[in-house]
Symmetry: none
Subunit: 401 residues, 2 copies
Amino acid sequence: MLGHLLRHADTKIVLLILDGLGGIRNDEFPETALEAAKTPHLDELAANGLCGRSLPISLGITPGSGPAHFALFGYDPLAPENDIGRGALEVTGVGFELLESDVAIRGNFATMDGDGVLTDRRAGRIPHEEGVRISGKLDDAIHEIDGIEVIVMPVREYRFGVVLRGKGLSPEVEETDPQLTGVKPLPPVPRVPEAQRTARIIEEFISRANEVLADEQKANTVLMRGISSKPLIQPFSERFGLKAAAIASYPLYRGVAGLCGMKLVETGFSVKEEFDTLRSIYNEGFDFFFIHIKKTDSYGEDGNIEGKIKVIEEVDANLPMITELRPDVLMVTGDHSTPCALKSHSWHPVPFLIHSTSCGKDDSTAFNERECDRGGLGVFDATSIMELALANAGKLKKHGA
Amino acid sequence: MLGHLLRHADTKIVLLILDGLGGIRNDEFPETALEAAKTPHLDELAANGLCGRSLPISLGITPGSGPAHFALFGYDPLAPENDIGRGALEVTGVGFELLESDVAIRGNFATMDGDGVLTDRRAGRIPHEEGVRISGKLDDAIHEIDGIEVIVMPVREYRFGVVLRGKGLSPEVEETDPQLTGVKPLPPVPRVPEAQRTARIIEEFISRANEVLADEQKANTVLMRGISSKPLIQPFSERFGLKAAAIASYPLYRGVAGLCGMKLVETGFSVKEEFDTLRSIYNEGFDFFFIHIKKTDSYGEDGNIEGKIKVIEEVDANLPMITELRPDVLMVTGDHSTPCALKSHSWHPVPFLIHSTSCGKDDSTAFNERECDRGGLGVFDATSIMELALANAGKLKKHGA
């Protein structure tokens, strides 16, 4: 779409995402976390740049993390081809490179009783090391079913991934997770005739997994979810002419970034570790950096405003690690709002700031909801963010004579 | 599109465009030209009307003048059918009425050496009178090629227009301008088989033009650009039910207005002359007037803020010439921003004001970027301007019961 307007410029763009950043004020919360937090560095950027409110999908529509990130990355979050199955997301997120003919499944380790009735859908939230051990056990025991290669990999804690590799597979199979305990798992039902063989393979996988896991105390069965194939997403390099790196520690965000063709860089979990990673790769040939901070969302979901404030202040305190690199364009926003007042994702437009030599200034003097409401960008679609970034980086030609 | 909502009202709309009006603030330019200019008349309109920021295409996309004006006039600036060839624009701009079967070409007079190598793509920027003389010489010498009528007309200075008129022509021919000197012009290459004959005619035109111009010192050859045909644009009268007049002195803007079906009125170049033209035709049966002031853009491109301020103040000083006519709707904006800080067109939303008896007031007290940022219209698509105008002029019915 932008193809004919793209031009090369030797400039770098940093997109810093504080997950679930936006908040709302009400009687219980007279200030949002971002308003209450002490953020001198972000405020300085806001005072010297442009602010506004980014709308992930549209007023009233609350996005999940996947669609919200697709919107940030300039892809239509409502387009069917961008409705990515969780299986494909999770295995991409742990660095697995899917083929177009693969079927990817997100698995839960779970607990069942002697009658095959589910007693815990997350196997008592076994620790990550247990998940690694048990998925290794499955991967060692099951290599192939009906001529189809089977690959099992750990994701996080009780979550693992399965990839079926071979010809003639279809992702059109229903999940086996009944979403409640006290009942047996559902059978993997094919939605279309072409998926009958895939459904049988998944059934056989579950049956063999039950045998392999029979001696486990907690993780003695599996639930198969998000059965999906690799989406056809135009890579970032082609869509925007950018060589992009993703610095994110959680699999889902790594998954979305990976599906968009970003290089997934290894990083630690803390703000400082992520910013350190940025510094270490800043001159390694990339011209776009996506940095994802997760904890703002987690605290928002918990309604823990002190926790959310603390993460924001931690980001602000470490921000000079980014600004010292003098990126040509620095944008700070969230993928969606997660107001402590609501303890959940919400539809509210997200505080947004952009800082570059060509963006100009508006009258906003700090980075928070109140100031962004009077920013020069108004309320705008998150899908414009990449165009804005490219324009400010001098990477877009004028449209028309 | 609006057709079923249109209704007649005996009211008049004035759309005053200051080309490239918008600016940005930065350390070097702590105020934009519009903020710095003394504009008591515009400020009074803003205080008694509504302000906002008009977005020519979308955040991040910098428009050329053609697409920017199509957006102002309510046509989708990205629609392929509105991507007008420069040839069609320029000949329409000098008042030529194209037929749908015509092919229009924008020509440059240029200088070549004895070996046919280009030494100046603009023939030393010969003055307008020279361009008129030389295009007259060509028009006198070349009437017809291979059964196709050839019409040559002056445009401005070194630019001229050629229209090929006859059956079986195609605009799908590559330009001959190599965009640099020290090389020979390119041949007119057909992009599709149906354009082979047109390409041969253009080749023959160039060859005969070279003979006719052999005795010229500077303009001894021609470059053929923007080879195009008349676009199929729904006329303003049909689209909006308006009888529209265009008061613009530059060919490109006259061209866009002409292609939208506006009457191109003869006018002088100065602000006062243009406003005088408005007064002289105000009661001649028109109900929409487009007035185009060019110099704000030119000074923006030069980074000359004093010049830009002066033009804005000149417009303001003469504004009573318009307001005394008491138009039912008066709108003032630009087609795009041309910040002195950037010396080029930019993507930034453009200050906008509307004044009518039914528009109401917001809290803006002056007409400039800062006040428009807090205006009641927010940041909105320029393609809404015509609907806004019609509504405020009482020319739109309610949609639905």
